[in-house]
C-alpha cells in the first residue's frame, strides 16, 4: 500500500498568495472563513472535487498556491452561487473561485486537456473577435481543441439540433466590431497588462 502524505509542507507555500486573491474585487472576505463547511455541504459538485470548497478556502488562505490552481475543484464550480448565499460569513465563494480560475489561466497551470478552461478561453476569444457567441460553432471548436472523439458520442444530439432548427452555422456578430476592439484596448491600458490575457 502506498502511503502518501495528506498534509502539505510549509515549504510548498507561496507566501502572499492568499492576500493577493483577497485583493481581487469580490474576494475581500476570504479571511473571515470559519471553516464551517456550509459551502461544501451546499455545493452540488463538491463530491467530484479534489478539494471541497471549504478546503479550497483554507488552502488559499494558507498560501498553497500550486495545490489550489492545479486542482480540478475550481473548474468544477458551475457558478450556481448556492455557497455564496448560504455562507454565514458572507464570503463570496463563487467569486473567489473565479479569481482562482483567472489566475490559473493567466499562469497556464490548469489541468491540460480538461475541457472547462479550454471552453472559457475559446468563449472569450470568440467574443473578442465577433462580439457574440454562436453556441454550436463554439462547441465544435471545443471538440477540436479538447476532445474530438466527443463528437462521436454527440452525433445524435447534433442531429436533434438540426431537426429542431437549433443548429446554427452562421456566425453571429455585432455590427461595430471595431468599437469592441477599441473599447477593450483602451480599458486594458493602465491595468498593468500589455495585452489581454490569452
Amino acid at each position: 500500500m502506498d502511503i502518501t502524505r495528506r498534509v502539505r509542507f510549509e515549504a510548498e507555500r507561496v507566501r502572499g498568495f492568499g492576500k493577493e486573491i483577497m485583493a481581487v474585487p469580490g474576494c475581500e472576505r476570504l479571511f473571515s472563513c470559519i471553516q464551517c463547511g456550509t459551502c461544501s455541504g451546499t455545493c452540488p459538485l463538491s463530491v467530484y472535487m479534489e478539494h471541497s470548497p471549504r478546503q479550497i478556502m483554507a488552502l488559499v488562505r494558507a498560501d498553497f498556491k500550486d495545490e489550489v490552481l492545479r486542482s480540478n475543484s475550481i473548474w468544477l464550480c458551475a457558478s450556481c452561487y448556492d455557497c455564496t448565499v448560504e455562507c454565514p460569513r458572507q464570503i463570496r465563494i463563487t467569486d473567489i473561485m473565479y479569481a482562482l480560475k483567472q489566475r490559473a489561466i493567466l499562469e497556464g497551470v490548469y489541468p491540460k486537456h480538461f475541457p472547462i478552461p479550454i471552453l472559457a478561453k475559446e468563449f472569450a476569444a470568440m467574443v473578442r473577435r465577433k462580439g457574440r457567441i454562436t453556441e454550436t460553432l463554439l462547441v465544435m471548436r471545443l471538440f477540436m481543441k479538447a476532445n474530438w472523439r466527443a463528437v462521436l458520442s454527440s452525433w445524435r444530439q447534433g442531429l436533434g439540433l438540426i431537426r429542431t432548427g437549433r443548429f446554427v452555422l452562421r456566425q453571429e456578430h455585432i455590427e461595430r466590431r471595431d468599437e469592441l476592439t477599441a473599447m477593450l484596448a483602451a480599458a486594458g491600458n493602465g491595468t498593468g497588462k500589455t495585452k489581454e490575457t490569452p
Binding site: V24, P25, G26, P44, L45, Y48, L76, A78, S79, C80, Y81, D82, T84, V85, T94, Y98, A99, K101, Q102, I105, P115, I116, P117, L119, A120, F123, A124, V127, R132, I133, T134, E135, T136, V139, L142, A146, S153, R156, Q157, G160, L161, T164, G165, R166, V168, E172, I174, E175, R176, L180, A182, M183, L184, A185, A186, A187, G188, G190, T191, T197
Partner: protein
Amino acid sequence: MTYNYFPGCSLKGLGRAYEESLLPVMRHLGVEMAELDDWNCCGATAYMSVDEHMACVLAARNLALAEKAGPQDLVTPCSACYLVLNKTKHYIKDSPEINATVQRGLGAIGLSFSGKTAVRHPLDVLVHDVGLDVIKEKVVRPLKGLKVAPYYGCQVVRPYATFDDAWNPTTMDRLLKTLGAEVVHYPLKTKCCGASLTGTVPEAGLRLTYILLKEAVRRGADVIATICPLCQFNLDAYHDQVEKRWGPARIPTVYFTQLMGLAFGLPVEQLGLNRNFVPMKPLPEVPAPA
C-alpha cells in the same frame, strides 16, 4: 409599457424558442420590447473565468447602450445575462478600480454608464409591472389539469435577484396558477442544472440534470417550466445520454413564456414548441362553445 430588450446570444441560437414565445406574449400584453442596438455578448460565466476586468467592460457596453437608449429598464430573459449585467453594476459601484477600467473603455467609444439602468427579468416584469390580474384577463385557454414543475435554476434568484426569495422563489408559481395550471411542489426549484458541465464533464453535469428530471417525474409533473435557455437545453437535449446512464426520466421542459402563449390562445406553431427534443403533449381539445 416599454422596455429595452437584451436577448443575449442564446436566444438567437439554442434558446430561440424562448424569444419566439417571449416576444408575442409581451406584444399580446401591450408591452413593447425594443431590442438594444448592436448589443454584444454579456460574457457569461466563461469570460469571468478569464479576465474579471474585461468581463465587466464587455458587459458594461450593454449597460451603457441601454442608458443611452433611454430611462426604461433593461429586460433580459437569460439567467446568465441577468446575473452578469447585475453583477457588473454591483462591481462598478463597489470597486473604484473596476469602475475606472470600465469608464476608460467606454470613454474610448463615446459611451458612459452612470449606474442607473435597472436590469430585470421578464418574470419580474410580467408579474410585478404587468400584473397577474391583467395576465388573468388574457387567459382564454386555461391550462387546467396540466401539472407543472416550476424550475427557476440558479442565476436569476442567486445572488442578485431583488424580486424574489433566493431559497424558495414563488413568482413563477403564482404566474402558472394564474394560467390555470396545477403547480407541483418541486423542492429542487433552485438547484443547479449542471450548466456547461453537461457537455464538458458529463459524469458530473448530467447527474445534476438527471436528479432534476427524475424528481419532476416522481412528483407527477407533466412538464417542467423553465426561465433560462441553458436550463432548458440541459433538461431537454440530453435525455438519450441521461437515461442510458441512469434510467428513465422522460419529461418535457418548456419556457414559461410558451405556457403563457398557450394559455393566451396564441397560435401554437408560433411559440417554438416544435423545437423541443422531448415534445410537450398538445393540450386537450377545448370543447367548442355550444
